[in-house]
């Protein structure tokens, strides 16, 4: 039953992607209503899925790689719902939906939904650590998406080749302001996630800690460079993509090395 909810959610996000592609090809892209509606509906089904899983597990549903991917996709959609309309970044939905679709389709297809043989006891600190870190990843994902949007627009402005999509992108300055805010949100949440990791009562693998701190340092360096005006907005946008790729690799590493399934 819960997987059915996830499939419906994926179809909603896929509808947003198809709608965007069709409209872009026809040159009549209008993202505002349909994309927000489709992403919103997909988000509702995602939430329903996570809620059902959470009740079944009796804890936050991030006990295996499958659930981690879905939780991450949920975080991305949730932050888009918060950030998108607020900053008039309606087109962000068009960029967000493909990422969510990739995450959910992979989670649904790959044999990674391995249930733990014994019911895992609740550990509030561990659940807080994992969930807050995933929400931080969601913010970094959105910063990465905003970075892609920035680079697309920047490229078109530089080359003087303005395509249909250009007219739906937010102004460069607004986009950069959104990137900065998302980076700060992600950074603060990620810091909380790392700090809370030390209170879980379990020894953390050295490699995991080093990698997590490396990602934290990377984002700290981006924010510092931006704050001290040492990095041009274009480079910040590019580094958002690099940063999220690194964070995603780390997340993959952490969960794939079977840390999550063996959580107490």
């Amino acid at each position: 039953m819960d997987r059915a909810l996830l499939i419906i959610s994926t179809i909603c996000f896929l509808a947003a992607v198809v709608h965007t592609v069709v409209e872009l090809r026809a040159g009549v892209f209008r993202p505002v209503r349909f994309n927000f509606f489709a992403v919103g509906l997909g988000f509702i089904f995602q939430t329903a899925f996570l809620s059902m899983r959470g009740h079944a597990l009796g804890r936050c549903p991030i006990t295996n790689l499958f659930e981690v991917f879905i939780f991450l996709a949920w975080s991305v959609a949730a932050i888009y719902m918060l950030v998108g309309p607020g900053y008039r970044l309606s087109l962000m939905g068009a960029f967000t939906a493909p990422l969510v679709v990739v995450l959910q389709v992979f989670a649904l297809i790959a044999p990674i939904d391995i249930r733990h043989p014994v019911k895992l006891p609740a550990n509030p600190w561990l659940e807080f650590h994992a969930s807050i870190s995933l929400v931080a990843y969601g913010a970094f994902a959105l910063a990465c998406i905003a970075g892609v949007m920035y680079l697309v627009q920047e490229r078109q402005l530089k080359t003087h080749q303005l395509h249909s999509i250009f007219y739906h992108l937010p102004p460069l300055s607004d986009l950069f302001a959104a990137i900065t805010r998302l980076l700060w949100w992600g950074f603060v949440l990620y810091t909380l996630g790392i700090v809370s990791g030390f209170f879980t009562g379990h020894p953390l693998p050295r490699l995991q800690v080093v990698a997590a701190i490396a990602v934290w340092l990377l984002y700290a360096a981006i924010l510092q460079g931006q704050h001290l005006r040492r990095l041009a907005p274009k480079r910040v946008a590019a580094l958002c993509i690099v940063g999220f790729s690194a964070a995603l690799t780390l997340l993959w590493g952490i969960t794939f090395t079977a840390q999550m399934p063996s959580l107490p």
């Binding site: 009549v28 003087h160 080749q161 303005l162 250009f166 007219y167 102004p171 300055s173 005006r229 041009a232």
Partner: protein
């Protein structure tokens, strides 16, 4: 009742011909002289058209005669050999409906997708309605035309992008900075094009304008005109550290701004973009400057190219717009053939008691 349109436009007549018909004729004059039941005159710089509803056929010459405001010109129509006859076109029934929908939607305009025509059409309708020249047929026709134009604008990209050099520059500034109210603008060279572009920026919210020119008198004059302040010409390079938008159009033979002299100035403002509009010929800014991070350089050719891209984008939308129009034409023709009498009970124009339009007439 027969719906028809007689007119001439930029497609069929040059400006010399058009201005001969651009007098002060009122629609009621057409009613009286040509014997139409209803008439509406749409007159813009690119077209002069009469839309009418009449039980009998009103000839094109009769309409043309009404449009001529000089007696000498009237005789010119009748005396003219056939090959020199004014290039009037005539549409009747469904073709007339389709033509009006295309006109109101900007598809028939010189600049495809321009929206000014809709306002002009609305004003023409208001004038005809106020004078009593437009009755229930034209009322329904024009109300539908306004609806179609709105739908075309909403559901296609026909109005997307700017199509003139000045508006492209302002549009790009908006795309880079969002609100222009916080932007600092330097106008270098107080030429006519600079003035127009600066005025356009002011109209979109820019308030901090500085003007620099070799002739300080001209700089002061322009600064006063656009509500800015004059800067001595020797001080303009320093301004590049602060400004967001540079409009340059000096008559310098060599580039004033090069990669070598701009790069050091940008070090302190790496987080802020600089939009340079170089409308000088020969150019004031070395094209290599565009390679710098955060610098967006547009010369007159690139602005023109963006305008053409917008126009091309609009042209791509014509098919989609035509589909919307075709649906409305079919629906309008069908609804009017089913009877105006019944529908007009809810309209602001009471029925005049005529028989409904016959399908054959449309």
């Amino acid at each position: 009742m027969n719906l028809f349109c007689v007119g001439l436009s930029h497609h069929t007549a040059n400006v010399e011909t058009r201005e001969r018909f651009a007098g002060h004729t009122e629609p009621d004059c057409i009613l009286r002289s040509a014997g139409c039941a209803e008439a509406l005159l749409l007159r813009t710089c690119n077209r002069v058209e009469v839309y009418g509803a009449s039980a009998r056929r009103v000839s094109t010459d009769e309409i043309a005669r009404c449009l001529m405001h000089e007696a000498g010109s009237v005789s010119a129509i009748t005396d003219r050999p056939h090959s020199e006859a004014p290039p009037f076109y005539r549409y009747e029934g469904g073709k007339c409906v389709q033509h009006l929908f295309r006109v109101a939607s900007g598809l028939d305009s010189m600049v495809v997708g321009e929206t000014e025509i809709l306002g002009q059409t609305k004003k023409a309708y208001e004038r005809a309605r106020a004078s009593g020249a437009a009755g229930p047929y034209l009322h329904r026709l024009f109300q539908r035309a306004f609806r179609v134009a709105k739908q075309v604008r909403t559901h296609t990209e026909i109005t997307r992008g700017s199509v003139s050099v000045g508006s492209v520059a302002v549009d790009l500034a908006h795309r880079i900075f969002g609100q222009l109210s916080n932007c600092k603008v330097l106008v270098l060279g107080a030429g006519e094009t600079s003035e127009r572009t600066a005025r356009a920026l002011v109209s979109r919210g820019a308030s901090d304008l500085r003007v620099s020119n070799r002739s300080s008198d001209r700089a002061h004059d322009l600064a006063q005109l656009v509500g800015g302040r004059a800067i001595p010409f020797e001080e303009w390079p320093e301004q590049c550290r602060e400004i967001d938008i540079l409009i340059t159009s000096t008559s310098s033979e060599t580039p004033l701004l090069t990669l070598a002299n701009l790069e050091p100035m940008l070090r302190d403002r790496i987080d802020r973009p600089l939009f340079i509009i170089d409308i000088a010929v020969p150019r004031d800014v070395d094209p290599e400057v565009n390679e710098l991070d955060g610098v967006y350089l547009y010369d007159i050719d690139s602005l023109q190219s963006v305008a053409e891209q917008s126009l091309a984008l609009r042209r791509q939308q014509i098919a989609a717009a035509e589909t919307i129009i075709a649906e409305h034409v079919a629906d309008f023709v069908d609804s009017i053939s089913r009877g105006l009498h019944r529908a007009s009970k809810t309209s602001e124009h009471p029925s005049v008691g005529e028989a409904p339009l016959r399908t054959s007439e449309l």
